[in-house]
Chain length 359, copies 4
């Protein structure tokens, strides 16, 4: 297992979908940061299942408790431990999964790696694991806001083949939160929600793309050659459950342009070096250039579906997996706060590293 | 700077495009591995400029020297230092770049981060930096071959908008090395080469996509939740110069499928658990499942072009950058060994970690 | 803060003396290890205050709860989170310390570093911080016992100037636990206990030396040149509260010998290479040689005393610190399980690393 | 192997006593630091053998070459690679050691760990490995001097049983360099040199104690709970060849004091919080308090002696090791720059970390 992320702002997450609880230890948070459990709860509430019709019906209150590291409303430099108790434990509901490998889940690979697994739900591979990330991300977000006025916003850019027209430079949090699918293009959102409802009824699931914009990131963040900013962002979001792709700026589409078309000309604006276009996506040579950082993450359709499937059990025997009663037809809306959290964690770590090495 | 990569098999690279030399220290390589400088040189020769008409004319012999860690033809467990001297130093050729930021290069961001830069060529941001990675990758490749018969092959999948039809399961090294563009689809290769020549004549440059397949990777590699195999692969290749995107298995295209269409059914084959399809790309829940690992990397068109460009200098004054005489119109063929090296480095590190924790 | 220790077997501790609780996340523990909360509780009980007359009267039940990582009595490879609630919170008792720096405590340095501190007790600098270490150490101890039959025993070797005659090769756990001071030399123990009682009555405190022996450590553990076994052991125990010195084998006393007197001749015993003497302390060139590892740790007299002291407050004004009612006159007996825990953590990490790199 | 040290200011060393060369890569050095190869050479010259009658006669010029990371006399933020070629290669001189384990050397343990070793000299276990540390330490020393006026001085405090009377607060570099043994107490130095000469004639060797003082270290350096300043200093120097013990401030001797005697009263001096005494050794709770940091390192007598010894070969057969012609009777004078280097490396890393997290 590798449950620690970051160098100076380091988080360590723990917890399975079933068992005592999930949580995180945040180590290296700058001292004297004002933080409340409510600020953490706000992001957890955006992550948790059961927020709307279109997400999973598993209803988890997910109340965060801060065990250490905060004193009289401020961080004190010591590790901040946050615990969220598990409450929706229905192990019997998973009894059938004890010996059967669900297709495109991590059942088989966990068994292959560890020779054992907590078969009550997804165990450590469950999306519930991200509770700790999102709680830590809320603290990272606060550090970024206080020390550099950085703002990080993600939103659903595409569900299945339904894309949305969104200007990353203009999108706002209220526009994102205005609908259940967290897509700030209202027309696209309506189509997405209809398609998700259709998938739910069919016992099917959908994937899509989350886009993220990071504003006012100061120039100079990123550590070539291995901890380039885009490399760390890629690793961060590719560690989220169900993610299958990452691109920044022009991304895969940029390969259709030639160098003359793709290069971002520099210009000067009020004494500040700017680029006229932003195909670089706010990062050049692995280092932020002060423009908006814009990246996208592809999420596959959720592996849990409510239909019969063919698979094998631990002995290699063919097994028909019965249709499940409940499922989450589209994880995208809940992935939005997860992507934001990972972006915040990467940025704050690089902010502290830059201050340490070059400050 | 962050010039170290890996946990148990750790590499530290160094060197700028101009100055004494470039190289790498490989720490944690298993002892008693037979290795020769020729095996390292072979991959370096595939990486170096000047191999063919379609790559950069900068002709660097790039002779590797092993300074330590190898004794009587075998590794001894101590760090392996490899140095390649710089020879093509023509600092005067770069005098014009001293105060000017080339568009979509790292000139401005290095200046913003460090307040100083080696303006003689790309400095640390030059693709020359990858010499150390490729040398280390050759050692990693040997460890993988000896201990697990793992084979890692990359090839050019697309140049500009010209795609190739390639079966990752069947591609061979001779087919890849059969043409200058390292694309095993001969017809596509011919079209790519013609397009690259055209770009060269126009003083323009092209990007594209490199695909990589890793065969016989044992099930169980990858460390959830943050060092998932795809997360580490993503970080590894997104740290290469000019990369803008990463996807594994079905990737971005997989978002157009529904869960029923996307899930890989399990089956049993000769006592081994297999998947019928491989939309997972060989990784499930962040852990290898024994199928071929298949991923793709998008590279933008090279920033260096041989045409006039608008930019600014260090004082923010508008400057016209004169057309350069020489340039590399397409970095893709040389990116192939770089991608292979990064994949080998990730796999060998996870092989050792798995052996350590679960062995 | 740096609250993470270890590379493959990594622990992250959290918690202050006052606040919600203290604990640890153990990441990288090999899967399928049988472990119970009772095994962890056993070591916690040896660490906790209030065990006997001669230790601090603060009575903490210190009940451990495992939140994750253990399923049906076995580890599953995922992070093991252990929490111990704080119960003895009497913040008002510490009100006087809010603005005053207690001599030879960490009050001033925490304030200088973080600009803030939890003044309710020792905060993160309290010995209560070691709860997480000892809980994690119990798991490490189990891994060592199961996989290599390694046994780690520490004991009090000296209190103040009262030394004990102990053969590290023969000492047993029952002999150590036979008296309140954890010194297996009964005569010396009696004298130590009398001296500690005297110190208590005088409102004074005593330091001393803890010795630790690690048996059946396989040859080959330790990673030159920076993670030599003795270097990691030194760091591990010098990170414990109140420790001021570390020595291994002949230690400081060995400087009085010449090379001829000091060298350990090799011999062969039943096909195994042994040393005739063990001035090396079981480690040569940073790597275990199969002999008993023997090291010693010096602990200063506890800073908390029950007498008036001169100091300054946050404004730099001279202040007389009133005598405190309760204090722990000698931390040595409670330091014994702490030293054992740190030794176990170092050994298990090196065992896994050795298996990974050279296995 | 673990050849990397430090978090933000990270060094990676390489090289055996025989082979191409030894050296270091320094990553994370702040940019725009003025540094010359002469400043590095100065410390290397103090480390190298053959400086005087009383050290080893192996005469190595040890000329450092900077391969990267420095441009026009300043660091540029990229990794600084420094190489020193090996010149004194006389492998035949070591032929006898091929199958024989020298007592109290690392021959046996390297063989046990790696199953192979470079038997031409000490290989990686040779003191020659410290060339890279000392070169990196010279850069660290410069960063400390430029950014915080920190001064680090070590000196020989004891050889065999001959101690010296030295005031750590008053000692100067010229006083240390005034004699071949680097002991600023002239009378003690004379006795030490005589004793070393006697040992040389007898084919014997001597150990002793090096003391180190670090002045003007700002309050606030050190990262509880695992990277406490004294813990990192202990690890740093316990990773040096032949070191057997570490103590800070009152150290082992402090155990003879009671708490009342040992506590350092705080006082105010010109608006600055000071301690009246310095039994803490400049560190409280793992964090520097602004007082002089004073620590000591015990070095065993060198294992290489010029006398017959009993040992075994790789097959376990008893072997008489013939007397060697040349040996270094006392490594202490050469250990002085090694200890300084390690102290500088620890301090600069913590300086950058503190600036990053709390700056």
């Amino acid at each position: 297992m590798a449950s620690t992320f970051g160098h100076l702002f380091r988080i360590t997450t723990f917890g399975e979908s079933h068992g005592g609880g999930v949580g995180v230890v945040v180590d290296g948070c700058p001292p004297r940061l004002p933080i409340t459990v409510e600020e953490i709860q706000r992001d957890l509430d955006r992550r948790r299942p059961g927020q709307s019709q279109i997400t999973t019906p598993r209803d988890e209150p997910d109340r965060a408790e801060i065990l250490s590291g905060v004193f009289e409303g401020q961080t004190i430099g010591s590790p901040i431990a946050i615990v969220v108790r598990n409450t929706d434990a229905r192990p019997s509901a998973y009894e059938a999964m004890k010996d059967t490998f669900r297709p495109s889940h991590a059942d088989y690979t966990y068994e292959a790696k560890y020779g054992i697994r907590n078969w009550q739900g997804g165990g450590r591979a469950s999306a519930r694991e991200t509770v700790g990330r999102v709680a830590a991300g809320a603290i990272a977000r606060k550090v970024l806001a206080v020390s550099a006025e950085v703002e990080v916003l993600a939103y659903v850019k595409q569900v299945w083949t339904i894309g949305a027209a969104i200007d990353p430079g203009a999108v706002t949090l209220p526009a994102i939160e205005a609908n259940a699918v967290r897509c700030p293009d209202a027309a696209a959102a309506t189509a997405m929600i209809a398609r998700i409802e259709e998938a739910r009824r069919a016992g099917d699931s959908l994937g899509g793309i989350v886009e993220c914009v990071c504003r006012r990131v100061p120039p100079g963040l990123g550590e070539p050659v291995f901890d380039k900013l885009e490399a760390d962002l890629a690793r961060a979001v590719m560690s989220l459950p169900a993610s299958k792709g990452f691109e920044i700026g022009s991304g895969f589409g940029g390969t259709a342009l030639t160098g003359i078309e793709h290069n971002d000309p520099f210009t000067s604006e009020g004494g500040r070096v700017r680029t006229v276009t932003n195909r670089s996506g706010g990062v050049q040579g692995g280092i932020s250039n002060g423009e908006d950082i814009v990246f996208r993450v592809a999420f596959k359709p959720t592996a849990t579906i409510a239909q019969q499937q063919q698979t094998v059990d631990r002995s290699g025997h063919a097994v028909t997996l019965a249709a499940k009663g409940r499922h989450d037809p589209c994880v995208l809306p809940r992935a939005v706060p997860m992507v934001e959290a990972m972006a915040c964690l990467v940025l704050v770590d690089h902010l502290l590293r830059q201050r340490g090495q070059c400050g």
